[in-house]
């Protein structure tokens, strides 16, 4: 019996506003505990919330970037439950009338695009942080009230790899918008997963398991892979499947049941009477839509058509907004006939350097003008391709121009025909046998002769030009 994996992901993103969702406390990581708090975000008696307009703007932008329909009328609801990191013992969230619905994004795991639906994106506030000690837990409320959005995917991801791709594409789109740090380590991006298995071809969904505590995209993929195995085993053995929440233990590489005696949670959602609803009209939506940058998937398609790039190459270049901007700047600045030359430089040597140094393309300490200059040296034959790669490395390290480094390294190739012909004469005279071999059809001999010229010129001769000249010389004579 074959089973199909069905995965849905819930991503929480912290919006990068200056202040919290419902009060003017500053959002600042690493500040001393309980130093970015006020009576409102502490939920002190008598306090009331007022929503941050920038948070609403950023949230709408995200919803638009994911092609969601923005609700004309939307409101906040209270989600009631008791926990010490929740000062009011309710979270201000959204229940039945979320900000936006029915969006999508594309993933490319099998090298063909797959449309992943997004059920909804809604507004919430974050809770505080707990530190657990032996007999006590300590609470820091700095994080309470930070504006969040929750992005819920349709349960249409069918493998841990697809889930991983969904997350990387989601992050790339959000980064383009500049609305969130998207940093799982800092906690500005969190992900929970829902996974179930069903017999292939079945319509009904299987028993759902909720997974939490994954701290990286890889962690999500690994946790889901583990679950697929675990659940497959259970199903094969006809063991009962219970709906439960499981925590990922990254160290041990297993999920552990969080079975609580509570049973189904009853959050007693009701519209928050302290907050007025929002009417979001078309002009407001269009104004925000106009502020959206070109998004990665659009940019990729444009690179492919404008610069004749392959999908593969285009995907690499658009993976970050800054990289894409840098790359496009270089491609546009490059005035040669075939843009592919520049593209190959970007995807080849530049990307290697970036990966080696663990930075982005645009963080490489090389400007587009300098790169174009370096390529120019190669194209004119002033330096060899091999030498250029070394120069690139040095340019990045030292910040010096190509010109300076080529001079310092004495790398200029000799392409001057007259000069070369002199050396060729000498070589031809000294290597009669090889000349004879070449004339009788042994092409290796040409390479040998070129090599000799290279030696005599201390490697400075332009091998291509030399080859051509030798051929001419020997064919003529």
């Amino acid at each position: 019996m074959k089973y199909q994996t069905v995965i849905g992901l819930e991503v929480h993103l912290q919006l990068s506003t200056k202040t919290k969702a419902f009060c003017g406390c500053v959002i600042d990581f690493g500040k001393a505990p309980n130093s970015c708090v006020c009576p409102v975000c502490l939920g002190f008696p008598g306090t009331l919330p007022v929503y941050n307009m920038e948070a609403l703007n950023l949230a709408i932008k995200v919803a638009l970037a994911f092609n969601c329909q923005i609700q004309e009328y939307t409101k906040f609801d209270r989600k009631n439950y008791f926990y010490p990191d929740l000062p009011k013992n309710y979270q201000i969230s959204q229940y039945d009338l979320p900000l936006s619905r029915n969006g999508h994004l594309y993933i490319y795991s099998e090298n063909k695009p797959k449309r992943i639906g997004i059920t909804r994106i809604h507004l919430e506030e974050d809770a505080g942080k707990l530190i657990h000690e032996a007999e006590h837990s300590l609470v820091d409320f700095n994080r309470t009230g930070i504006p969040l959005i929750e992005i819920v995917s349709d349960p249409v991801l069918n493998s841990p790899l697809e889930a991983f791709d969904y997350l990387t594409n989601l992050k790339s789109i959000v980064q383009y918008l500049d609305v969130s740090d998207c940093d799982m380590e800092k906690g500005s991006l969190r992900c929970d997963a829902n996974i179930s298995l069903r017999p292939e071809g079945a319509e009904e969904l299987g028993v759902k398991t909720e997974l939490k505590n994954m701290n990286s995209f890889k962690g999500v993929k690994d946790a889901l892979s583990f679950e697929v195995k675990r659940q497959t085993e259970l199903l094969k053995n006809n063991d009962p499947m219970i709906q439960e929440t499981r925590l990922w233990d990254a160290e041990k590489g297993v999920t552990v049941s969080m079975r609580s005696k509570e049973g189904a949670k009853d959050y007693r959602y009701f519209p928050d009477p302290d907050l007025a609803p929002f009417y979001i009209n078309q002009p407001m939506v269009e104004r925000l839509r106009a502020q959206l940058p070109e998004l990665p998937q659009e940019k990729m398609r444009r690179f492919m058509s404008n610069y004749s790039l392959s999908e593969y190459d285009a995907k690499i270049l658009v993976s970050s907004k800054e990289d894409a901007q840098f790359a496009e700047g270089c491609i546009q600045g490059y005035l040669g006939k075939d843009k592919k030359v520049m593209v190959n430089w970007l995807i080849g040597p530049l990307l290697s350097e970036a990966n080696l140094r663990k930075v982005k393309l645009n963080e490489l300490n090389i400007s587009k003008d300098e790169l174009i200059s370096l390529i120019g040296f190669v194209e004119r034959g002033d330096i060899s391709g091999l030498a250029a790669k070394g120069v690139l490395n040095q340019m990045i390290d030292s910040g010096k121009t190509a010109q300076t480094l080529i001079k310092e390294g004495n790398l200029l190739q000799v392409s001057d025909t007259a000069e070369l012909e002199k050396i060729i004469e000498v070589v031809v005279t000294e290597n009669v046998k090889s000349v004879g071999d070449f004339k009788s059809g042994k092409t290796n001999a040409l390479m040998f002769l070129v090599g000799q010229v290279m030696k005599k010129s201390s490697g400075k001769a332009n091998p291509k030009v030399v080859g051509e000249l030798i051929k001419r010389r020997l064919t003529d004579a």
Binding site: N34, H136, P271
Partner: protein
């Protein structure tokens, strides 16, 4: 509509209030009366009536993303029944 003791206990748990057995008994009788009285609203035809979840015609209330002065940790913790350094302290959480 009646409300049985099991339901009251469940609701008390949702509300995190420990009820003594005699409280439960008393509450049961009182809630029975109150709910009986409240049930009167089930008579009404409310087919096409919109719920008054917000009584005022206010909407789109927003504030600017501008910082204000936060409390110092000392002020924030002034009323805390139990604290450790600059943290609020609560007893162990048993899952």
């Amino acid at each position: 509509m009646s409300i049985d003791n099991e339901t009251i206990k469940h609701v008390a748990h949702l509300a995190r209030i420990e009820l003594q057995p005699n409280e439960l008994e008393r509450l049961s009788g009182q809630l029975h009366d109150i709910l009986g009285f409240i049930d009167k609203i089930s008579d009404l035809n409310i087919e096409n009536v919109a719920p008054a979840s917000h009584i005022l015609p206010i909407s789109n209330v927003l504030r600017e993303d501008k910082p204000h002065t936060s409390l110092t940790p000392e002020r924030a913790l002034e009323n805390a029944p139990s604290k450790k350094g600059n943290f609020f302290s609560v007893p162990k959480i048993i899952e």
